[in-house]
Symmetry: C2
Subunit: 438 residues, 2 copies
C-alpha cells in the first residue's frame, strides 16, 4: 500500500495553493491495486501508449477545463444529463483519504479531457491485468463532461463527534445541517454522505462512466452511499440556454443565476471565508434535494390551478401579472375578487428574490424517473441541485419561505445532501488540497 | 362512460384490416374523463387550436410514420433512449379494452408526429379543465419517437385459465412462456404483463413523456406493472449506425440483424400465421430481459479474460480469430495448447448463427443504471430487447445454447417479458384491431 511519501508519487506540495507545478499526479499504486487485485500492481506499469479510436458518435466534442480557479460544473452551462453519487469513506487513515482525492483528481482530469483513465486506458495495458478504464466510453467524445467534488459534514465530524481525519477544526460554519421542513419525507440512507461527486455531460453514458470509474478507484476506501441519474436539465446557467421544462410541464429555473452576471455569481455563488475556512474561498456549497412529484395528482388539476400554483403561464412561462418569461413579475398587480393576479401562495412569489431579501440561487437540477411504485405510479420528480455561498442565506432561507407554497401539495422531499465544494486547483494539485495543508 | 357505439366515436369498422379510412379516431370521453375528473367531460370540447411554440432545442427533429405495414420501433434505426413499460389491464370489459387501445392509438399518432396529445394539447384547452397533454414535451421536437405496443399471454388467458376478454382462441402458439434458464433470478412483479409499450427516442424527456401520458390515459383501465429506462442503445438496427458499447465496455450487437437485409428481416423478424393467428401476420414477438451485470467483478478480470469471455477484442471488436468487427469469426482457428483461438465457452461462439441453426435476432437493447444497491454497487446492466418471428426459434433457442456461456458468471436475468407485437395499421385503425375483429 502506498503512502503519500511513496516514491511512486509526488511529494505533497508545501504550499498547495501556489501554482508551483509539482510533478504531475498519477494514479496511486493503491488505486491500481484496487482496480484488479494483486496481479496488477506490478503488471500495469511500463506499457505503451493508449490506442486511439475514432469517434463513432456525432455527439458533443465539447470539453471544459478541469483545472481553474473554481471547479467546473457550477457555472458551466448546464449539460443535459447527470449522474450524482454520495460516498461514505470507509475505515481509512487521513493519508489514505488524501490519496483517494489525488487518485480521483487524476482520473477526473483524464475523463473530462475525453481520455480514458490511467496510462493505459481501456485496452492499452497488458493482457494479464484488468484494464485501468472500464471501457464503455471508448470512442465517445468528452460530451462536455464536468466532475465536481464536495465534502459532507460527516467528513469533518461524525454524528458521534468523532474527528476521524483531523479535519474538525476546519469544518465550515456553513455545513450546519439544513433544518427540517414540513414537506420533508427524507430517507436517511439516501441523504448526506462524506463525499459527493456530480458528473454532468451531454451523453449519459459519459456521466455514468465517470461515476462508475471513480467508484471503482475508491474500492476499499469509499463506497457509494446513494446515487441518482437525471435525464433532463431543469435549469439554465447561461443566457445562451433556453429554459427547459420540469415534469409538471412548466419551464423551470427561469430566475436561476446565469453565469454571465458576474457580480451576482460572485455575491451569491462563491464562498468566502477566512481563518479556518480560508480553504473554501472560491468554493461553493451544494444542496441536493430529491423532490418526488405526485404527477398523477398534478395532472388532474385544471390548467388554471396549475398556473395559479406556479404563478406563471404554462406555455410561455410569463408571470401571471403579464409579460414574457424573463419579464419581472408584478406581485402587487390586482386580479379578481380582491386577490392579486399572482396568488399569495404562488411558487414564483414565494421563491422570488424580492420576497427573500434579494437571495438568488444558481440551480442545476434534473428531471428523474426511477421506475414506478407498487401502485403503478411513475416514481418521478426533480433532482434539485443548487449552488450558493452559504445555504443558510441560500436554499434554506428560500425553502423556509416556501412553507406556504401552493406547490407543496404536489411534492415531497425524499433525499437531501449538503456538501462543501472546494475551489478549483491547478495542474499538479488535488481536489480539496488546501483543506489538508497544515 | 363511453362505449364503442358512443356517438362521439366512430363505428367499429367491419373489416378492420382493409384500409377503408373510417372516420379519424379521437380520444374517447373516457380517456378525457380519466385525465382529470368529472369537470372535464364537458369542458374540454370545442375550444380553439393548439398553440404553437418554437423549438428551443437544436435536437433531433426526425419523425417516423406511426402508420404502416409494421409497427415502428422494430426495424427503425435504434434511437438513443428508451422508456419501456408493461401494464396490467384492470377489471374492464372487452369493449373498454378496445377503447383503451383506440385511445392509445390516437395519442401515439399525435406524439410520434411531434404533436401534443388531443385536440387542445398542453395549453390550448379551457382554463377550467386539466390539460390533455402533461406538457413536458412542449416545444421539443419529435426526437425520432417511436411507440410500439405488444400483448402479453395473460391478456389472452390468465394463469387461472380465465379468458377474460374472449381472446383465448386467438392466442398465438408463440406466446408459449419462455422456459427457465440457469441464470434466471426473475422477479415476478417485474416480469410479463398484459400489455407493453416500448417508447424510443433520441431525447429521454420525449420517451418519458410518451409513457407518462399513455399511463395517464389508461387511468382506471390499465396501470403500470413494471417499467424501465435505458440510456444508451446497445445495438444497431441499421448499417448506417455504428456499434455502441455495453457496460462491460465491449461493442454489443455487432451480429444483430440490420434493417437493410430485407430477406433476413422477413425470415427472422416478421411473424407469419394463419387461421386463428392471421391477426399477427406482419407483427413480431418482443422479448425483454433485464440483465443485471456484476460490473465490479467483471472490472477485476484481466483484459485477456474479458476478451476470452466475449471472443472479441475489447478495442476494435474484431473476433479473436482475427480481422475487424464485421469479419466472420473462424471458430476452428487453432490457438495455443490445443484450444481454439475463440474459446469454446466464448459468448460470440455460442450466440453465433453458425452455432444456432442460422438463427438471427434483431436486438434493440439499452444500458441501464438504477441507482445502487445497499453494498454501494451500481445496480447496472443491459435491458435486452429482441424481436423475432417466434421466440422458440429465436431468443429462447439461443439462450438455451448459452447455458455454458463464460459470460454467465457475470450476469443475472432479473426480469423477463414476452409480448406479441401486432402488425402496423393504417390511419383510422387502432393497434391490434385485427385481433378483435370477429
Amino acid at each position: 500500500m502506498a503512502s503519500p511519501t511513496d516514491p511512486e508519487k509526488p511529494e505533497k506540495p508545501e504550499k498547495p495553493a501556489t501554482p508551483a507545478k509539482p510533478a504531475k499526479l498519477r494514479l496511486s499504486r493503491r488505486a491500481l491495486f484496487g482496480l484488479g487485485g494483486a496481479s496488477v500492481a506490478g503488471a500495469a506499469i511500463g506499457v505503451g501508449a493508449m490506442a486511439a479510436y475514432e469517434e463513432f458518435n456525432g455527439g458533443s466534442g465539447t470539453t471544459y477545463p478541469f483545472y481553474g480557479e473554481h471547479q467546473a460544473g457550477i457555472v458551466t452551462p448546464a449539460q443535459d444529463r447527470l449522474h450524482f453519487a454520495a460516498f461514505d469513506v470507509l475505515d481509512v487513515s487521513r493519508d489514505e483519504l488524501i490519496e483517494l482525492l489525488q487518485d480521483w483528481t487524476v482520473a477526473a482530469a483524464n475523463m473530462t479531457a475525453g481520455q480514458d483513465i490511467g496510462r493505459h486506458g481501456a485496452v492499452g495495458g497488458p493482457q494479464s491485468a484488468p484494464p485501468e478504464d472500464t471501457g464503455e466510453a471508448l470512442g465517445l467524445p468528452a460530451a462536455g463532461l464536468t466532475i465536481t467534488f464536495g465534502f459532507g459534514r460527516s467528513l469533518f465530524r461524525t454524528k458521534d463527534g468523532d474527528d476521524r481525519f483531523g479535519l474538525g477544526r476546519r469544518m465550515p460554519d456553513a455545513l450546519e445541517p439544513i433544518p427540517p421542513f414540513a414537506i420533508d419525507s427524507l430517507s436517511e440512507a439516501s441523504s448526506d454522505g462524506d463525499l459527493c461527486v456530480q458528473a454532468c455531460a451531454d451523453d449519459p453514458q459519459i456521466a455514468v462512466h465517470a461515476i462508475r470509474n471513480l467508484s471503482r478507484i475508491a474500492f476499499g476506501r469509499a463506497s457509494i452511499r446513494w446515487s441518482q441519474l437525471g435525464f433532463g436539465r431543469t435549469s439554465s446557467t447561461s443566457k445562451s440556454q433556453t429554459t427547459p421544462r420540469n415534469l409538471f410541464g412548466f419551464k423551470d429555473g427561469t430566475a436561476s443565476i446565469k453565469s454571465e452576471d458576474a457580480g451576482t455569481v460572485n455575491k451569491w455563488v462563491w464562498a468566502k471565508g477566512s481563518g479556518s475556512e480560508a480553504w473554501m474561498n472560491g468554493g461553493s456549497y451544494l444542496v441536493a434535494r430529491k423532490i418526488r412529484m405526485i404527477i398523477e395528482t398534478w395532472d388532474r388539476q385544471s390548467l388554471q390551478e396549475q398556473e395559479r400554483v406556479f404563478g406563471r403561464s404554462k406555455g410561455e412561462g410569463g408571470p401571471l401579472s403579464g409579460g414574457k418569461e424573463f419579464d419581472e413579475p408584478d406581485f402587487a398587480a390586482p386580479g379578481t375578487g380582491g386577490n392579486p393576479m399572482i396568488d399569495v401562495a404562488a411558487h414564483v412569489r414565494l421563491a422570488h428574490p424580492k420576497q427573500n431579501s434579494g437571495i438568488q440561487l444558481l440551480r442545476r437540477g434534473y428531471n428523474y424517473v426511477d421506475g414506478n411504485d407498487e401502485l403503478g405510479r411513475l416514481n418521478a420528480g426533480l433532482f434539485f441541485i443548487s449552488f450558493q455561498s452559504d445555504h443558510r442565506t441560500g436554499f434554506s432561507a428560500i425553502q423556509a419561505n416556501l412553507r406556504r407554497d401552493a406547490m407543496n401539495e404536489y411534492v415531497r422531499h425524499v433525499s437531501s445532501g449538503l456538501f462543501a465544494v472546494p475551489p478549483g486547483i491547478s495542474d499538479g494539485g488535488f481536489i480539496g488540497q488546501r483543506l489538508f495543508a497544515d
